[in-house]
């Protein structure tokens, strides 16, 4: 029932993008998103399109996986397109006019521009989530937030990262557990499908209470286990897998800087 649910959407394969340092990937993603918004015209946007497409090709993730992502946001895309078409009324070339609805060429172009922007945002974010495991992402966030320790927030950063790691670790466990509890209560004749909203919420109690109880029990056990292994926060803790940036990280960053410069120039010139 819940087994189809997976957190994140890591696609297990080996590609250049998979092997990039997650910190670089995360920062690069942030800058790419920023520059998608910096684009002033179609020429600049075209450059970003090419960039995203190349990233998708390099990731070796099948295109149907990306299409699946786009399917989810299709309603938002359609909605944005329609709103833009209807609200942009300037421009001389009127394509279509009926009652209070006027669609101009400018409106259509503006709508296309917005739609491409949204698609690019989704696709480039998907490149990151398909090629980076949640654990790698957490490590990257912890590492990137390290400078906060100069503000005396070092321990906080470590705690947050540890919390994220633990919750990611327990999602599959608790999903399994939920399945089991649902089956057990169904075996006692629990009816989870029929009835109105109020009775449906009530029917969830036999599942939520044992689940909460077991989550707390597991947390307690985990705390004991961490205690037994002398865990005492982030101070003096070393890592088994250190993140070390390599040539490919610097090369991709250089390429990105060139593309970004081109985007700015193209935006000014045309």
């Amino acid at each position: 029932m819940l087994s189809s649910f997976t957190l994140g959407q890591y696609y297990n394969t080996t590609s250049v993008i998979h092997r990039l340092d997650p910190r670089f990937k995360l920062l690069q993603l942030i800058f790419i998103i920023a520059f998608i918004f910096v684009c002033k015209n179609f020429f600049a946007l075209f450059l970003m399109c090419a960039l995203v497409l190349i990233a998708m090709l390099l990731s070796k993730v099948p295109f149907r996986m990306y299409l699946r992502n786009l399917k989810v946001i299709l309603p938002i895309v359609v909605f944005t397109a329609i709103l833009n078409m209807l609200y942009v009324n300037q421009g001389e070339v009127v394509l279509f006019s009926w009652w209070i609805i006027t669609v101009t060429l400018d409106g259509v172009l503006k709508a296309a521009f917005m739609v491409i922007r949204i698609l690019l945002l989704i696709l480039i974010s998907a490149v990151l989530t398909y090629t980076t495991t949640p654990t790698e992402l957490t490590d990257a966030i912890e590492s990137l937030l390290k400078p906060l320790k100069f503000l005396g927030l070092g321990e906080l950063v470590h705690t947050l990262a540890m919390m994220m790691t633990i919750s990611l670790r327990f999602i599959p466990t608790l999903t399994d557990e939920t399945d089991k509890i649902i089956s057990a209560q169904k075996a006692r004749g629990a009816d989870l499908e029929s009835g109105n909203i109020l009775s449906k919420i009530k029917a969830l109690l036999p599942i939520l209470i044992p689940l909460l109880f077991s989550a707390i029990r597991r947390a307690d056990d985990l705390a004991d286990a961490m205690d037994c292994r002398c865990y005492s926060g982030g101070k003096g803790r070393t890592r088994m897998k250190k993140l070390v940036p390599g040539a490919k990280d610097y090369i991709t960053t250089t390429i990105l800087i060139v593309v970004f410069a081109a985007v700015i120039v193209v935006g000014k010139v045309f």
């Binding site: 209560q185 075996a187 006692r188 004749g189 036999p206």
Partner: protein, 289 residues
């Protein structure tokens, strides 16, 4: 006695339709009569837990049929959940399904779903909590304040109070101490006798199964490798050990004695039977090997 439960060529696989499809159970058939106990043996991942969940309709088999009292379980898919009151399934570690404020309310959950009257529910709760050897003053306690063994018994009472005709237990004694195990088995035997119910026990302990079961079903890699009386199944100990399964320790001792050249009857699966066979051997007096 009449057949209460019968399965025919049950097939079910996980991840159906994807390349990692894996058959959990493949063509499993067995029959069970009223008042009989069936033991199911098999490794982790042999399909035991999937099999027991097909018996009360929690899992719908891809093909094959489960007959409950001669009627196809899935004849009317909308009524399947009512069959769950007739085939009571006790999951592994059932204590983790307790959720009510009091033991009383928790045991009442199943009978209430059946739509029984208040008096009937009250009667059954008191009956089955006593059958499981717990004092009536436990009824007002919170199930979360009980010990592990007590919780297990409360959970079992919750299923027994539905008075199922077939009681299915998935590793009922996992994690219990010997005393807790004995108490649990005693209660199951009592229930079985009183309701002339059929019982299915999934277990890793050959000793327990040898003592309790009339018949055994051996599962390996999703297939029913053997189905027969305890004697028939344990007699094929060589095949069993090839599957990485065991026979009871006492049977093993007798087999070793026989291998040493003693003329001993190896058909013994409980300590009492084994003692008898060894006494016989001693009487015959041919211990000169």
């Amino acid at each position: 006695m009449s057949e209460i439960l019968k399965t025919e060529d049950l097939v079910f696989s996980y991840n159906n339709g994807s390349p990692v499809k894996r058959a959990a159970i493949n063509k499993v058939s067995f029959t069970l009569k009223k008042g009989e106990t069936l033991g199911i043996i098999g490794h982790t991942g042999s399909g035991k837990s999937t099999l027991v969940q097909t018996l009360n309709g929690l899992i719908k088999p891809e093909s094959g049929t489960v007959f409950l009292d001669g009627e196809d379980l899935w004849k009317n898919p909308k009524q399947v959940y009512q069959k769950r009151f007739r085939v009571g399934l006790v999951f592994q570690y059932p204590e983790y399904q307790l959720f009510e404020e009091t033991v009383y309310k928790d045991i009442a959950f199943g009978p209430k779903n059946m739509g029984l009257s208040e008096e009937e529910i009250d009667f059954r709760i008191k009956k089955y909590i006593s059958l499981l050897g717990l004092n009536l003053n436990y009824l007002e306690k919170s199930p979360f304040d009980l010990s592990g063994g007590e919780k297990r018994r409360v959970a079992l009472a919750g299923i027994l109070a539905m008075e199922p005709e077939v009681l299915v237990l998935d590793e009922p004694t996992a994690g219990l101490d010997p005393v807790g195990r004995e108490n649990l088995f005693k209660a199951i035997e009592l229930y079985k006798k009183e309701r002339s119910a059929a019982v299915i026990i999934v277990s890793h302990s050959m000793e327990d199964l040898a003592r309790l079961s009339d018949k055994l079903l051996v599962m390996n890699l999703g297939e029913a490798k053997m189905f027969g009386t305890v004697e028939e199944v344990f007699a094929r100990y060589e095949e069993l050990s090839k599957m990485g399964l065991d026979v009871p320790v006492v049977t093993k001792i007798l087999l070793e004695l026989k291998a040493l050249g003693l003329n001993v009857n190896t058909k013994a699966f409980t300590p009492a039977q084994a003692i008898k066979n060894i006494e016989l051997l001693l009487k015959e007096g041919d211990i000169n090997a």
